[in-house]
Amino acid sequence: MKPNDDFSQAARQSNAAIIIIIFNLYRNWIKRLLPIFLALFVSSGKATLLVTTFGIFIVLVALFGIIYFFKYTYYIADNELIIEKGVFKRSKMVIPFERIQSINFKQAILHQIFSVVELEIDTAGSSKIEFDLRAISKQKAEALRQIILNSKPEKSSLPLEETTSPPAPTPKILFKLSFGDLMKVGLTENHLRSGLVPIAMYFWLRDLLRNGGINLDDLATKYADPEKLYQLGLIILGILFLGYALIAILISMIRSVLRFFDLTFYRTEEGFMVTYGLFTKRQISIQDPKIQIFKWQDNLLRKIPKIFNMQIKQAASAEVKKKTSSIHLAGLSERHIHQFLDAYYDKDYAIDDFIGISKWWFIRRLVIYTVLVIGSLILYQYFPEHPAFGISAFFFVTLILTSYLYFRKKKFGVNDEVIHIKGGRFGDSHQLIQLFKIQGVSLKQSPFQRRKDLAGIVIFTAAGNINLPYLAYDVAEKLRDYILQIVETDGRAWM
C-alpha cells in the first residue's frame, strides 16, 4: 500500500481526483454559462437545441477534466515540491520546502466519499502561490507532510536545537467536543449581531411595495386609525422578533454543528493538530514555535454553560510580517483550555496576582460621557422633534456602563514565563503570551497621564499588539524593564 513514498517519481493525484476536478469544472462553468443557456432557450424556444448544446458542453468539460488529470503530476526533487500541469498551456510550479510554513488538509463531501484529502499549503512568500493538489490519498498526504516538515531544519541556517527523530505518527488525543458541546455553541452565538436582518427586510419590503405602486407610509396616514395601526405594528414587531430569534438560534446551531462537528484536539511531536467539520472536514496543524498568543473569551450567554471561544494567534512567517494567521475554535470549557495550556507550557503559566489599571482611566471617560449625556439631554429639551438627541444620550449612558466594566476587568499579571492579560466588557477575555516572544515595548504618556503620573504600555508581538492603558508610571516602567530583561536574556528563538 506504499508505492514510492519518497515521491521522487512524478505521480498523478488519486484517481478520485478525476471526479472532483470534473465536479469543480461543472460548478464553475455552469455558474458562468447558465444565463447564456437560458437566453438561448428563451430566444429560440427549442428545447432540443438547449439539450444538445448542454450535452456537448457536459461531454467537452468532462473530456477536459480527464486530460487535465492525466497531465497533472507532482514530485519531490532537491527539497522542492514540483508540480507540472496544464492541458493547452503547460506550467511548472516549484515550491522550496523552506518556504512552506504549514500544511493543512481539507475534505469536502466528495473527498470524504473517496477518502482523499485536498492539501492547503501555507507558504511564506509575498506572492501567493496558487497551489491545487486537489485529491490525494490520506496516507500519501500524511507522508508528504512529514517529508516536507522534517526536511526543513536541514536547509534552514538557523541554529535549531537537536532535531527530533521522525515524529511518532500517532498523535495523542487531548480532548474532543461532544454533540452537546456543539449545541451549546450554537445557542450562545451573538444573536444580536444579526439583529439588523428583520429591519433590513422591512425596508426591502417597503421599497418593493413602493415600486409596485403601494406606499406604506401613505396607506398608513390615509386609511388607518393611528391607534390601531400602532397596536398592529407592535404585534407584527413581536412576531417578527420571535420568529427571527427562533430562526437565528436554529441557523447558528446548525452552522456550528456543521462547522465544528467532531472537533478533536491532538498533541503531536511538533505542536498541535485540530480536526473538525461535517461536510467539509479540516485538519489543521499548528507548530509550537509559531504560536504567539493564546486568547480565550466568553460573552454574557456563554457564561451560562461556561464555555469559551479560543483563538491561537500565529506568526505566519518570519519574512512576511503582514501575514498573521489565527485559528478560531468554539465551545471549549475551562478544563479543555487548561488541558491545552498544560500540554503547551512546560513551565508554570498560572498567575495569582493581577494588577488593574488606574481609576483615572474610568474617571476621565465618566466626565467626558457625562458632559455629552447632559449636552444631549439639553438639546433634546429644546428640539424634542429630533429623537437623535434622546438616542445619543442613551448611547453615552451605555458607554459609561461599558467603560466601567472595561476598567474593572482590564488586568495583567506576570511570572517569569508569561504575561496574562485579562479584559472584556460583558464577557471576559484572557490573553497569554510567553514573555520571550515579545518583539518590543512602547511606553506612552498623554499630557493628562503625565499630570497623574501614569503611562500606557503597548506590547508588540508577531501576532498583533496588546495595549495596557493607564498604569501607574512606576508599574509600567517596571513591567517594561522586566519584559526587556527576559527577552534579552532568554536564549530561545521566538519562532
Binding site: E161, A315, K321, D416, R480, Y482, L484, I486, E488
Partner: protein
C-alpha cells in the same frame, strides 16, 4: 543552548528612565524650516491658483478667510515642529535601542537587538542635500514597533546600523 531564568528582584533591574537620551542633529532644524517654507509656498500657490483661475466668486470677497487659515495653520506648524523635534532622541544600550518621540503625546519605544529582523539607512532628497540620514529598524511586531530615527549624521547612521545588525546576528546569516 543554555539560559538562566532565576527569579529576579525587580528593584535591581536597570531602568530606562535615565536622562541620557542622545538628541538628534541640531542642524536638522534648517531642514524642518525649509520643509515648512515649502509647505507654506505650496498652500499659497494653491490659493492663488484658485483666486485667479478658480470658479469660486466668493473667494474675491472673502479672500482673507483662507489667507488667515493658512497663516494660523503654518504659524502653529512653525512653532510646533522644532519643539517636537527637540524632544526626539535615542539611547543605545548594551542589548537594546530606545527611541523617544512626541511633544504632547510622548512615546518611548524599546527594541531589543535580538528582535531586529532587518535594518537599513535611508536618505531622502532633502537629506542628501543637507547631509542627514534615517536609520530604520524592522521587527516582526508590525509597523508600529518599527523604529525610524531621522536626522542622523550619515556616518553615525551607518555606524549604528552596523552595530545593531552585528548585535542582532544579522551579519552571520548573510
Amino acid at each position: 543552548m543554555t539560559f538562566s531564568n532565576a527569579n529576579l528582584d525587580v528593584n535591581l533591574l536597570p531602568t530606562v528612565r535615565q536622562p541620557e537620551f542622545i538628541p538628534l542633529e541640531k542642524g536638522y532644524h534648517q531642514v524642518i524650516l525649509l520643509e515648512n517654507f515649502i509647505a507654506t509656498g505650496l498652500l499659497l500657490i494653491g490659493f492663488l491658483v484658485l483666486y485667479f483661475w478658480g470658479d469660486l466668486p466668493e473667494i474675491h470677497q472673502f479672500w482673507y478667510v483662507p489667507v488667515i487659515g493658512i497663516g494660523v495653520l503654518m504659524g502653529f506648524v512653525f512653532w510646533f515642529r522644532p519643539k517636537a523635534f527637540s524632544r526626539k532622541g535615542y539611547q543605545l544600550r548594551e542589548r537594546d535601542i530606545i527611541f523617544r518621540t512626541g511633544l504632547w503625546w510622548q512615546t518611548e519605544t524599546v527594541i531589543p537587538f535580538v528582535r531586529v529582523q532587518h535594518s537599513e539607512v535611508t536618505q531622502g532628497p532633502l537629506g542628501r542635500l543637507f547631509g542627514y540620514a534615517t536609520l530604520n529598524l524592522y521587527t516582526a511586531g508590525g509597523s508600529k514597533s518599527d523604529l525610524s530615527i531621522p536626522a542622523l549624521h550619515p556616518e553615525t547612521a551607518r555606524k549604528l546600523e552596523q552595530f545593531v545588525s552585528q548585535k542582532a546576528g544579522l551579519d552571520e546569516t548573510e
